[in-house]
Every structure is written in structure tokens, then in C-alpha cells.
Symmetry: C2
Subunit: 300 residues, 2 copies
């Protein structure tokens, strides 16, 4: 697709490709159990920014790989992300009625089906990553390594670990290291895994992989700081979800620790460090630089 | 370990090995997030018969493989099985207070943590299966194939699919094909996957793999019919869970369709067909034959 494209066009084109691929990779509603497959498709197809798939595809291209070949990896990552949203929205967790402007999965299909739809999406990600057709289009031996990166960053050492600490911290005073733990794990882990997975699938050598890892860590943090800021200042209609909920629940956020201005400064600092991290990729890193800007600049 | 062992000794020895391996493969309680890791360990270490790990190890040995080398696969399968129990017990699902004679995960750790512990166990199974150390002890290229077998049989085409249909069928009149769908998917799929995974990891050729697949399908069905029978006639104390609940909830079972006697006959028939399926493995298939008897004979 290419580094000479502006980010908006690139995101739109990735979105179209991802949706077409998802259509193929998600079980059809005509296959039993119909309601389970309906629930899975409902949540995946509800939209969202597809930031993680875009990161995977752009990272793959930055190291010289072909974005088309990582479509299964990008779809698997989006399935994992979507499962985490479905479970996060459950009454026992964040108890959210709306997500991306639409009723959440359990509001439409009931709690039991929403739990199962999340479980099935997480599992389907690994069905897809280990499928013979996926293994064929990836570099030799990359499939298992990709599965390891995604699983490790999605599980108790990564995203789920962050969610667990986040839930336990609700309504309590937490210190800054705990906030950083939540940030780096709950959201940062899958962002980092997206960048690493794209780089690996694109055939990155050790040095390039290390640089991409640094970029991934930095934008992962930037993403969460930006999300915290948006929860305070964002436009509820544009975001398609209930805002101000972090504050109402007494959840610690970056702005609640340091104030809005310091949070913005930190987001800008992380953005600039991320941009610097992909300098070595010259023009091929251009989309990743634009992405770093996109993540942070929407907070102003 | 060996085919000359009687099943009771074999199950006990497998149990010891599995527990020691689990100790290593489950995140420690001293690692953050402590409560999440406690919840994961609580449910995995609550015991249970470890039927699926035993099936994996015995199937591996039946085709001439080394049972030790499949310990990571056996542990991954038990993690998947345990996650499914944790989610199945949730208030929104079967709402069970006891499992294996102990309070269920959400009774001890709360609903949110139980959902996350289930999610983390499912994910950890794939962390383990894709780990470099696991890939090393398996036949070349087997890791991805094993992941595919486990994921496909655990997801919406397998176990989760069976759970979804089971939940939707509660309190409704269902036909026999629907009951068979639930049986083959909810429990049968992971039993079959255990046998196939053991065979694959043990280096089975195509013909042996096909025979083992037939054995796995048959004992999978036998297992569920036996479980249905036990729910009617079993000893609550021995089972360590509330019995008669299927009937109380109006859930269709094999005995509710055909009566207890016909259910027993069907279980015996499935057992004998399973025994016949592993005849070609001669002495090496002996434990699998004993396992088929073990699964069914406990219903008398």
C-alpha cells in the first residue's frame, strides 16, 4: 500500500481490507450456533478505529514486508481486542451499556452469550493464527512466534493482568507505579504486540525488531495517556461512549495524578520519542510517525 | 510410564506429574497481579480427575511417543478445561456455588476476577503451547498443528459452541440431533482434541491418527452419556458437586430422552466400539481400553 499515502487514506484502506478479511475469518451466522456467531460478528463489525490492525500493517511495511500477508494476524489481533471489550463491558466488570455508539454485546444478546462470544473470539484468534493458510503466507516458523507474542501480551502478564489491577484499584488510592502498571498492561501490551507482530511478520532483523519494540512501548503509553485525557475533555458524541466515567468511578488516571496540562506534555513527549524511534526506517517509517501524531494530537 | 501399568496407578502418576508441571507453567502468586494468579491457581489446583491430560499422555504412548514430552500440551489442555469450568459456573451461566467439592472461583474471588482468571487461563494455554521450550520437545512443526487442534475444538466450532446451544436450550424442548450437538461439542470436542493432540505429539502416522480420532470421538460421546447418567444416579458426595441439577433445570439429557436403561446400553456400546478402535495398537493401546472402561463403568 505504501508510505507515500497520507494516514487518513491508509486507515480507510486498511479498514476496508480488514472488514473484508473478517467476513472470511469469522464463522458465518448460517453456521451453528447462530446466536453465538451473530454476537461475535455484532461486536467485531461494530467498527472502531482498527488502530491495532493498522499498526500491524504499517509496522510490517516499515520493515519492508507486504501488508497483505499480515491480514490474518491483523484480524486475529482485532478479535482479541474485541473479546476484551465485550468482557470489559459486562455488568460484573465495567457495566457499560454502550460501546462505539451501539448497545454493548450483553445488552443485545444477554450476559451468558456475551461471555461465550468473548471466549470464542479469543479462541478464534488462535484458530486463525495457527491455520495452515496463515502459516503459508508468513515467514518460515513465524506462526508460533507470533502466537507467543500475542498470547503473552494478551494474558495475565499483559492485558488481562492490567484489567485485574485496574478493577482492584477502583475507588482506592493508588500510587503512580500502579497507574503505570495498568497503563502499560491494559492497553500498552496489545499496542506493543501489534507493532512487534507486524515487524516479525514483515521479516524484521534483530536490530529493526528492537527499534520497533521501542516505538511500540512509547506509543502504547502515549495511547493510554491520550485516552485518559479524552475521558476528561473529549466529545461524547464523537467518541460514541459515555465519558467522564473514570472520574465518576474514582479511577486513577494520568490527569488525576498530574493535572491536564502535565498529562498533555507527557503525551507530546512520548509522541516525539516514538517518532524518533522510527527515524532509521526513513520514508518507510512515515506512516508510523503519522500514527504517533494521530494518537496524541486528537487530544487537543 | 507404560502400558503394563494398571489405570489407577497410571492416573495417580500422571496427576503427580501434571501438578508438578502446572506449578511451573502457571504464573506464581508472587508475580503481579497476585489475586489474578491466585484465582487461576485456585481453580486449576482444586483437583479433578485430570482425564484430559491422562488421555493426552496415554494417547501419546499408544502411538509410541514419550509421555514426558507432552506434559506442556497436557497442562495447556487442563488450563482450557479449567477456564471453561470457571466461566460455566458464573452466575450468568450455570450459577454453581460448588465445583469439585470446593466453592467456585467467583464465590472466592468475585465475579470480575473469575471472568479474568478464565480469560487468562485460556490465553496462558496458548502462551505455553507456543513457548520455545515446548516447541523444542515436540516433533518438528507440531506446535502450530497442536495449537490449531486445541483452538478449533475449544472455540465456537467446538466446546464454546456446545455451551452456547446448551444455554439456549435450557427449559426448551429440544430434539435428539440438538442433544447430540451439545454432547459432541460441549464435552466431546476437548476429549477428541486430547486424543488427537497426544497422537500428534507422539508422532502418529496418518493411519494411526485416523484410528485415534475414531477412538476419541467414541469416548467423547461415552463420557457425556455417562455424565448424564451420573447426574441421575450418582453419589453427590463422591462427585463433589450438586446433582440432579440437569433435571431440575429442565435440561435435556440422554436418560431424559431414552430412559436410564437405554442410556446405559448406549454407553456400553460406545465403550466397546472405542475399545475396538484401538485394537491395532495391541498392548500399547491397553491404557486407552482401560480408560474407555473407566469412563463408562463408573455409572453402574
Amino acid at each position: 500500500m505504501g508510505a507515500d499515502m497520507d494516514l487518513k487514506t491508509y486507515i480507510a484502506e486498511c479498514g476496508t481490507k480488514i472488514n473484508a478479511a473478517m467476513e472470511k475469518y469469522l464463522p458465518g451466522e448460517d453456521i451453528l450456533p447462530h446466536n453465538l456467531h451473530r454476537a461475535m460478528r455484532y461486536s467485531v463489525m461494530a467498527g472502531g478505529k482498527r488502530i491495532r490492525p493498522v499498526l500491524i500493517m504499517a509496522s510490517c511495511e516499515a520493515v519492508g514486508g507486504d501488508a497483505e500477508s499480515v491480514l490474518p494476524v491483523a484480524c486475529a489481533m482485532e478479535m482479541i481486542h474485541t473479546y476484551s471489550l465485550i468482557h470489559d463491558d459486562l455488568p460484573a466488570m465495567d457495566d457499560d451499556d454502550y460501546r462505539r455508539g451501539e448497545p454493548t454485546c450483553h445488552k443485545v444478546f444477554g450476559e451468558a452469550m456475551a461471555i461465550l462470544a468473548g471466549d470464542a473470539l479469543l479462541t478464534q484468534a488462535f484458530v486463525l493464527l495457527s491455520a495452515p493458510e496463515t502459516r503459508e503466507v508468513l515467514p518460515h516458523g513465524a506462526s508460533s512466534k507470533l502466537i507467543h507474542i500475542l498470547a503473552r501480551n494478551a494474558g495475565s502478564y499483559g492485558m488481562v493482568g492490567g484489567q485485574a489491577v485496574d478493577i482492584e484499584s477502583e475507588g482506592r488510592e493508588i500510587d503512580f507505579p500502579t497507574l503505570e502498571y495498568i497503563h502499560t498492561h491494559k492497553t500498552g501490551a496489545l499496542i506493543l504486540a501489534s507493532v512487534q507482530a507486524g515487524a516479525l511478520a514483515g521479516g524484521a532483523d534483530e536490530k529493526a525488531f528492537a527499534q520497533m519494540t521501542r516505538y511500540g512501548e512509547l506509543i502504547g503509553l502515549a495511547f493510554q495517556v491520550a485516552d485518559d485525557i479524552l475521558d476528561v475533555v473529549g466529545d461524547q458524541k464523537l467518541m460514541g461512549k459515555t465519558l467522564g466515567v473514570d472520574e465518576a468511578r474514582g479511577k486513577a488516571t494520568y490527569p488525576s495524578f498530574f493535572g491536564l496540562e502535565a498529562a498533555r506534555e507527557r503525551a507530546l513527549e512520548l509522541r516525539d520519542m516514538a517518532v524518533a524511534a522510527v527515524e532509521p526506517f526513513a520514508d518507510r517509517g512515515d506512516l508510523l510517525k503519522q500514527l504517533a501524531h494521530f494518537i496524541v494530537d486528537r487530544t487537543f
